[in-house]
Amino acid sequence: MTVLQIVALALVAVGAPAVVAARDPLRQAFVASFYGLLLGVLFFAFAAPDVALSSIVIGSVALPTIILLALAKIGDKDS
């Protein structure tokens, strides 16, 4: 277990409850984006560059954007 792996694991273990604890979806989208980045770092530490690239591109860019756009549609009403 290299140091990078342990640190990345610890960060992910903290990141997941952070995503869940952020009850307001807008804030949660940003925490989820950061969580996707953390996962990317962890996968990189597990010598899986493809999955890290995929997790960063989707987890911290594409998905949060979709969430924000969905919220933009919902947000106006459910203030």
Binding site: A13, Q28, S54, L71
Partner: protein
Amino acid sequence: MSFLPFAIAIWIFLVGLYGVVTSHHLVHLVICLSVVQSSTYLLLLGIGYRTNGAASIFVDIPPNTKAVDPVVKALTLTDVVVGAAVTALLLALAVQAQKRFGTLDPDELDPLRD
């Protein structure tokens, strides 16, 4: 120490499921669902890792160096993309549900009686 990644995979699974169960906003529920799915990525990759094994890409390293298991990474890679597609579909349902029910609390959606 060698059980840590798997313990954290279980921890993420349960935290995500807790978020799904106690959620009061459909979008929050869907994001917690994607956290639950991310626990399987961690578990799969944790299985395939070999200590100081190189990534199984033999562009610049000789073909028989000690490398990590490629199969698990292929499975996880496609799961990440698929997970995003399913989450997008669920978000579309949430957007449509909000218009229909006027509320986004999964507990206030009209139960279908009789």
